[in-house]
Symmetry: C2
Subunit: 387 residues, 2 copies
């Protein structure tokens, strides 16, 4: 049987690699960005829109799905793929980060996390076992360990205590999974999560704990939680040097296009973030020239200019900035659909271009130029076609 993950190209010159993830719902070239479908919908985008944008794997949030519509219903539907009519691959988080984020509404103990629903205040308990059951019911192709996110900043002692919990919870999850097989007739690949805050020594211990478990993949959690980007890159780069080279590496919940390109250069393969869709709904889309505030008044008469001339998405092929700006200002839902579609397409294109540059052996100079351009102070936006 072909392996779950395979590195297809990792030329010298950078730590970046091009790979392939094989799932029961299709193969996924890496590096890959996974649009976030929080409660069973990538907000404002249809499954056919996602496919058109090039997405092959999307993410679901166990916390949200557990509360609404409930994992029992999703199991009855035959799994989340069928419930939401998505025939590509899926990954679910464990809900660990989400319940941790509830702050005043949750209590963390050795056994798990007691929390109150953000919707109706009802009381619930997540344990490493219960969230594995939830992920079995949901039936994503890739499922995640139940972890405790280490806050930033945290002392070494706080970090160690938190890391210990994540490690014991990971073992409990694996024990549960070993005797509770998948429910929908196909494999679910379990990823461990590396915590350890910004303390490299703790991150190293987290990785050393995971290596002998020989899991299908490993994720970094607890990044992009308020630390400076340079610190995130430093910790992430430290990790790739000691992570097993043959496993897929996933940085959870990150980030901007610059973050993604930088992390690809540090040897990461998988990403997810609400940023492209959330920002699109708030009036900002991403382009090859950096973020574009499409709702800004200066676009009111940009009748001949799409969001990004180099983009082949439905939005850029059919609509002007002036129209999108008008839709946003007029409160039209279509603005949110079209902007979200574009930004998802852009993130897919960005990952595909990273992959092409990796395979061509030109990733390092290409990404350096791109990141420098994006880091430069914003130029006045021009209406002229970009070369």
């Amino acid at each position: 049987m072909a392996p779950f993950f395979e590195i297809q190209s990792a030329p010298p010159g950078s730590k970046a690699r091009a790979g392939l993830l094989r799932t029961a719902h299709g193969d996924i070239p890496t590096p890959v960005f996974m649009p976030v479908g929080t409660a069973g919908s990538v907000k404002a985008v249809t499954p056919r829109g996602l496919k058109d944008a090039g997405a092959r794997i999307i993410l679901g949030n166990t916390y949200h799905l557990y509360l609404r519509p409930g994992c029992g219903l999703i199991e009855k539907a035959g799994g989340l793929h069928r419930f939401v009519s998505w025939d590509g691959a899926m990954l679910t988080d464990s809900g660990g980060f989400q319940v941790w984020s509830l702050e005043t509404l949750r209590k963390i103990t050795e056994s798990g996390v007691e929390f109150r629903s953000h919707i109706d205040g009802s009381k619930h308990l997540f344990t490493p076992e219960s969230v594995m059951l939830a992920q079995r019911q949901i039936g994503a192709d890739i499922i995640m360990a139940f972890d405790e996110c280490t806050p930033y900043p945290a002392t070494p002692e706080e970090t160690d205590k938190s890391l210990g919990l994540t490690q014991r919870w990971t073992e409990r999850a694996l024990e549960w999974l070993a005797v509770n097989p998948a429910l929908h007739g196909y494999d679910q690949h379990f990823f461990g999560i590396v915590q350890g805050g910004m303390h490299k020594e703790a991150r190293a211990r987290a990785i050393e704990h995971l290596i002998p478990l020989d899991l299908p993949g490993i994720a970094l959690g607890g990044l992009s939680v308020g630390e400076p980007a340079e610190m995130m890159y430093d910790v992430a780069g430290f990790c790739t040097d000691i992570l097993p080279p043959g496993k897929p590496r996933y940085v959870m919940g990150v980030g901007t296009p610059s973050n993604l390109v930088t992390l690809v250069g540090l040897g990461f393969d998988m990403f997810d973030c609400v940023m492209p869709t959330r920002n699109a709904r708030n009036g900002t889309v991403f382009t090859w020239d950096g973020p574009l505030h499409y709702k800004a008044a200066r676009h009111a008469s940009a009748l001949d200019e799409p969001i990004d001339r180099r983009c082949g998405c439905y939005t850029c092929k059919n609509f002007s900035r002036a129209y999108l700006r008008h839709l946003f200002v007029a409160g039209e839902i279509l603005a949110l659909e079209l902007a979200s579609l574009h930004s998802i397409h852009f993130y897919q294109d960005l990952m595909a271009e990273c992959r092409r540059q990796i395979v061509a052996g030109s990733f390092a100079p290409w990404s350096a130029e791109l990141l420098a351009r994006w880091a430069a102070p914003a130029q006045p936006e021009s209406s002229a076609p970009q070369s």
Copy 2:
């Protein structure tokens, strides 16, 4: 040159007719329902979604477009078709009904209507001439007379006064159009509007005034403004008996599926209404079994049942009532997109089926059965497939 409108089939047994409208943006079989794209967007639906649903003509509201983004900008864009990327046909209303609806914000005089924007309170004046200019700039294939809607109820005197204004405004509009040709290189077909409230004698005078003008089409305005449905049908049916048989007949702003089928049976050809999209956004869609409150709790576990098994729309082919209900309850924008798509598709299907029944000579018994079924007290909804 082929005529703008042609009746293709009008068999005995009912007043219903099947026809064809020819425009610079495609031919449109009638009877036809035109989805309403208020401010340059059929709410929550992309142009490709509209095409997929079978729509060949959509409506724009001059009042909304005039305020945002402004008719000058639309003219600069090359017309509304280009601005919104819709290559099918379009019709614009004149804004008459919309400014009339502003009630406390408008003042009607012989010269036109002074009104305050519902958006920012700014002062504006619509005259028969200025709204023809606006419609020239927007560039719809079919443009409408500037009229004053007669309220319901209204005395014969009030009705006469109002009708006189509409008649004089229609003449002024025609004079202006005669010396101000279309701006975008294709014909715009001007429809007159029959007012006259619920007074048949006034309606008859309105029609007699329009007949010698030999306009491309004639619309009924001032219906569905609070009167009982039976009264609307009575007035509308009276009108078709004296309207010129060879002109397309358009009932503005109406209505429910039952309204449409009934009015087709009375000899009307064109319809528009915000109902399918507005109700979809509020949790109700239309089906061959009548309205369906898809947000209702009873659909929470309807995992195997689409909105309507007989519907071939994207929503019905891919998603269950349970999923749509979940999306609505979770506040997901996708609920509004999918529900709107379905209801637009259903309205298109309904008109296409009316046309088939007309051509087959079976419209009268078919529509009688359908209307009786829809008028029957609602049955408990079943999960069984409908025969």
